[in-house]
């Protein structure tokens, strides 16, 4: 049976950018993009693509479509996914899509319905910008399909999706009938890195672009309002313990911890 997997990917500010460059515009309730740091595919979404490609590695007649919702520039994360080995890409871009986790999940679910004929939808466990962890589950509910979260392994066996679901202590093996939606966690491993030849091939691939009208998106408005966005301040004053030698510094530190009744 040929499989069709849809992976949802988001473009985010590079989380590896130095923390000192992180700035919030509190009036606009927005994060100010660090100068000279290019946005990237959200790490967990790259793993969603990776999970799809591992299934494709095992069953060659698998088709992988990636969908991204974002500005025109989000085309880059689709190209990245195509270079990793995905077959087709769809970019959802329209001012009407701006909103909250609900409007994002609604637009993605409408796009997935329009793409149609899917067996499995894969999402990252959360995007590394808002860390919301809502959209994947929301898509599953809006599509009415089974969902399994926090996968460290995803396989297709006998027409079912079999997921190793990460828990605080260990993992569960969970099965669900297709079509289903699975969110992927970092324990899946490393995403593959595109080779130069694949990047060049991906550059020539067409990306389908859809707006609200193309997918029949009509939102009744956001369900959550961002009231305030700010940077927390740390009140801790660090006492740097020094010594003539590392040994002396270590002994002084142990003594300070004892003085403070911490040890």
């Amino acid at each position: 049976m040929p499989l069709h997997i849809i992976a949802c990917v988001k473009q985010v500010p590079d989380p590896e950018a130095p923390a000192s460059s992180f700035r919030v515009d509190e009036a606009a309730k927005k994060v100010i993009a660090a100068a000279g740091v290019a946005p990237v595919i959200s790490q967990f979404d790259a793993l969603a693509v990776e999970a799809a490609l591992r299934i494709k590695d095992a069953a060659a007649d698998t088709k992988v479509t990636v969908v991204s919702l974002g500005p025109e520039g989000a085309r880059d994360v689709i190209k990245h996914s195509l270079a990793m080995g995905a077959d087709e890409g769809v970019l959802l871009t329209d001012g009407a899509f701006e909103g909250d986790s609900y409007t994002t999940a609604l637009a993605l679910s409408k796009a997935i319905e329009k793409i149609g004929d899917y067996n499995l939808v894969l999402c990252g466990r959360q995007a590394t910008d808002w860390d919301a962890g809502v959209v994947g589950y929301g898509i599953a509910e809006l599509l009415g399909v089974a969902s399994v979260s926090l996968a460290k392994a995803v396989t297709i066996q006998d027409g079912k999706v079999v997921v190793e679901r990460v828990l605080m202590e260990g993992y569960d093996t969970v099965e669900a009938p297709l079509p289903a939606l699975v969110t992927v966690s970092n324990e899946l491993g490393e995403p593959r890195y595109p080779k130069l030849q694949q990047i060049m091939m991906a550059a020539r691939k067409q990306v389908t672009v859809w707006g609200a009208g193309d997918i029949g998106f009509a939102s009744s408005g956001v369900r959550a309002n961002l009231e305030r966005l700010f940077q927390p301040v740390s009140e801790v004053e660090c006492e740097v313990v020094e010594g003539e030698t590392p040994d002396e510094a270590a002994q002084k530190l142990a003594q300070r911890l004892r003085d403070q009744k911490i040890i």
Partner: protein, 327 residues
């Protein structure tokens, strides 16, 4: 917010999970701001006896869904059960822990109820009766406050962010059994296996002392001296995501946004730069001690004590000094 706050309690090893008691504490404080009741739901098989636990920790009214099909967690089963409880309780908000259950149940339940969820929140408040949930975002670099246009909003609370109430067995409450009629055959997501990762020694969540290492440790072997320090202080070893992703430590030791949330008295951050995704897991520590050769490392901004040097030079002497002090 007339109908009060509903807490979805989680059962772990036959008892109410500690995180659910913390959530009950948060719900009680929130409800008391507006003179509202706290309701709680407990879902599972053979869980009816836990209702009195929830009452002793702050619930006024407990809804029990006790059915064989709910013996193990499933998204389909628990969302359906919570849908029934929600209909009976009609709360203005639903609170639960950011846990194995809450991460999965929270957002899907919210959408089932035509609402939305704010996950992994540090606090909830209701100034002027308007629910506000505060949550970290951008890997902990920023905080966001959200309000809601739909009800009930689902809010999950981060472990160790809120204090439970002191147990009071004299508290009175009502218990209502809810027949959800969950049919096992209708549950699509089924647990078919379970693998426990055996943790040696003390659980990270319970440890009073944690010695954690990051990218700066450089190898699996490098952790040996961290293990010695942990042993000398009766503590546990933890690791950053980078250290786990490199295969130096098991995933079960990962501390951070996508790992465990810990709150020890003493937290040694060794060779850890202090990326916010890691700090999200250890910001509950009472005292952080940073050992890092980079004086500019952001970890020093969150630390009470620090040594700027190579851990390989400092730690052996620190192990020795701690052993002597505790002898």
């Amino acid at each position: 917010m007339a109908n009060g706050i509903l807490v979805a309690a989680e059962v772990s090893g036959g008892a109410v999970a500690p995180i659910s008691l913390e959530v009950l504490g948060a719900a009680r404080r929130l409800a008391d701001q507006n003179g509202e009741p706290v309701q709680a739901a407990v879902i599972g098989s053979g869980v009816e006896g836990l209702a009195k636990e929830l009452i002793a920790h702050g619930a006024d009214h407990v809804f029990v869904v006790d059915e064989p099909a709910l013996a193990k967690y499933s998204c389909d089963g628990f969302v359906a059960a919570m849908e029934k409880v929600n209909a009976a309780a009609s709360p203005s908000a639903i609170l639960m822990g950011q846990s194995d259950m809450g991460r999965d149940l929270g957002p899907r339940l919210a959408f089932r109820l035509g609402s939305t969820a704010a996950m992994d929140c540090l606090s909830v408040s209701a100034p002027g009766g308007k629910l506000i949930a505060e949550r970290p975002c951008y890997g902990g670099n920023a905080r966001a406050n959200f309000s809601f246009n739909t009800s009930p909003a689902v809010v999950t609370i981060r472990s160790k962010a809120q204090e439970p109430l002191a147990r009071d067995d004299s508290r009175q409450g009502q218990v209502t059994k809810v027949d959800a009629g969950i049919d096992a055959a209708a549950i699509r997501d089924k647990i078919t296996g379970h693998q426990e990762v055996a943790e040696e020694g003390i659980r990270l969540e319970d440890a009073e002392v944690i010695v954690a290492g990051g990218r700066g440790i450089g190898s699996a072997e490098g952790f040996a001296v961290l293990e010695e320090l942990a042993k000398a202080l009766g503590g546990a070893v933890g690791a950053t995501r980078a250290a786990c992703d490199n295969g130096w430590r098991p995933v079960s030791e990962q501390i951070g946004l996508t790992g465990k949330i810990v709150g020890p008295t003493l937290y040694f951050a060794v060779g850890i730069s202090g990326a916010s995704q890691h700090m999200a897991g250890c910001s509950g520590a009472k005292n952080i001690v940073a050992i890092n050769k980079d004086p500019e490392a952001i970890i020093f901004k969150s630390s009470r004590f620090g040594i700027v040097d190579d851990y390989k030079k400092v730690l052996p002497a620190l192990v020795e000094a701690c052993r002597k002090l505790r002898a």
